[in-house]
């Protein structure tokens, strides 16, 4: 049964996952790179946060460290890609694979680390009225963080350096000819993207899972892409303002999470079916333009064929109809 609770949980999770989606949007849409590093930087953010909080660090500082760790992951992929000219996809895969070992090292050879010390969730609980439901906490924090990130990204991509990032993603050759150090710009973009992904992982670990799991990154890129595409398909018309685009991406993440939450209420689906549902959503969304085009073409051909028969054929053949 799809209940209000299901929808609220979709909203709560969606807002936190949206931070990761914004990161994926930066690489996938602005830099034109499908960056698989995110599969590793998402649990990296969670692992760093969990271990540091348990070690006694203030949760806000721990989140900040997770962001820095994400930057480092992006830096490594960026160096592989720009300095050593390894294709972007492969660079991401290399960092992702390496991060699996790194994450387990960070978590002292464990696959799961429960957050036992007060986390950001606890801080929020202290701020909000007593007995505020967990989902509400996520929603409040999610809205604040998402809006702050949208504001920051909106500002950043309007600056000279931000424009250089967009130009590099659009046409590297042009950017270089205008004096943009495209290598550094790509590295910067990957760092910002992975910082957001790590932040998302850090918050998911604290608000949702209550622990860091080494496997929690599986499928991150596909979830991110699914959310980006859903957001674009539903909300974005051609020349929308950049801030609206970012908000549409957040909405995409929320819708994606809600779809998943609803799908899981069907008794014939298991939690482990989540991945195939995601894969199906992304495949359909990516195939949609091709399908649309093909339908439109067929329609046009059929119309023209009819016109050909009624107008030209009869005239050319002296009125005789040729079957």
């Amino acid at each position: 049964m799809i209940t209000t609770a299901t929808l609220i949980s979709g909203l709560a999770q969606g807002l936190i996952w949206a931070i990761m989606t914004l990161g994926v949007y930066i690489t996938f849409r602005i830099l034109d790179i499908a960056d698989l590093t995110v599969e590793g930087s998402f649990p990296l953010g969670a692992a760093v946060t969990a271990v540091l909080i348990n070690g006694g660090m203030h949760p806000v500082l721990a989140v900040f460290m997770a962001i820095l760790a994400g930057c480092a992951a992006g830096l490594v992929t960026g160096i592989f890609h720009t300095i050593f000219k390894i294709p972007a996809i492969l660079s991401g895969i290399l960092t992702m694979i390496a991060l699996y070992s790194v994450n387990i090292r960070i978590m002292s050879d464990k696959a799961t680390v429960a957050i036992v010390q007060p986390s950001v969730k606890k801080l929020m609980q202290n701020l909000l009225p007593e007995g505020t439901p967990s989902n509400t906490i996520s929603i409040v924090l999610g809205v604040i963080v998402c809006l702050a990130i949208v504001a920051l990204l909106y500002y950043f991509f309007g600056t000279e350096i931000g424009c250089a990032v967009r130009a590099t993603g659009s046409n590297q050759n042009m950017a270089r000819s205008l004096g943009v150090r495209t290598d550094r710009i790509i590295i910067l973009g990957l760092m910002i993207s992975n910082a957001l992904v790590a932040l998302s992982g850090s918050l998911i670990a604290q608000l949702d899972y209550g622990s860091a799991l080494v496997t929690m990154g599986q499928g991150t890129i596909v979830i991110g892409l699914a959310s980006v595409i859903i957001g674009e398909v539903i909300f974005i018309r051609k020349d929308r303002n950049f801030a609206i685009k970012l908000i549409a991406i957040i909405a995409g993440a929320i819708i994606y999470r809600t779809i998943i939450a609803c799908a899981l209420t069907f008794s014939f689906l298991k939690a482990t079916d989540l991945k195939i549902i995601t894969a199906i959503i992304v495949s359909i969304a990516l195939a949609l333009p091709v399908i649309k085009q093909s339908i439109a073409e067929r329609k046009l051909r059929a119309e023209n064929a009819k016109r050909f028969e009624t107008e030209f054929l009869n005239a050319d053949m002296g009125g005789e109809h040729v079957a």
């Binding site: 309007g158 600056t159 000279e160």
Partner: protein, 272 residues
Amino acid sequence: MLIWEVSTLLNMMHIEKSFNIGTINEKKVLNDLSLTINDGDFITVIGGNGAGKSTMLNTIAGVYKVDGGRILLDGQDITYKSETDRAQYIGRVFQDPMMGTAPTMMIEENLAMAYRRTKKRGLGWGISAKEREIYRQALAQLGLGLEDRMSTKVGLLSGGQRQAVTLLMATLQKPKLLLLDEHTAALDPATSAKVLELSDKIIKENNLTALMVTHNMQNAIDYGNRLVMMNGGRIILDISGEEKKRLTIEDLLKKFESVSGGKFTTDSVLLG
């Protein structure tokens, strides 16, 4: 210590460039190439396919690093400076109209990128209201009505319009040297003529020093104050002043045959 005349802008000395070095496909493209460009020169460059014209421009721009020789720009050794470092002195327009502009960005954003070619980019706004007025006026000079479409994505423009915008972008901040690499070759004849006229006008009005590669001999004769012909990776002919004005296509072909000892191979050179 090297000494040269003050009026010399670019000095290419004994440039060597090969591709696929160390492989079976190794090919020497520039072979002891030397060229001196004076301040205010508008040089047209002709030559058959594989003569090294584009490679010469790309070594000046820093896209390729040379294997030997020296390149001096305004007295400064730029032989091993990066493409991005050289961008502050050099404006470029490419053969492919898609190469010089960012299609997903607006016309004004593209111009704003070009406006900052000579500057270090920071966290200030990428475009200001004051600049927009400069761009509007610059676009109006093109006579294409683009000044009223400044927030149109460049990807929606035609090849000719994009090439005109690229030309404007290359000269928005006056470059020491403008490199035009067959920049009208991909356009239809009418548009090609228009963009060529525009290039000439911009070069003259701003007193630019320019190097223009073309496959059209008549254009090479009609435009600029100097004409160089390339073959086998070096300059085989360098004509300027009155002598250039009197040139005909037949003269060029004859000269080519006498200097190179062969025939011009490509029809496109003749037919343009």
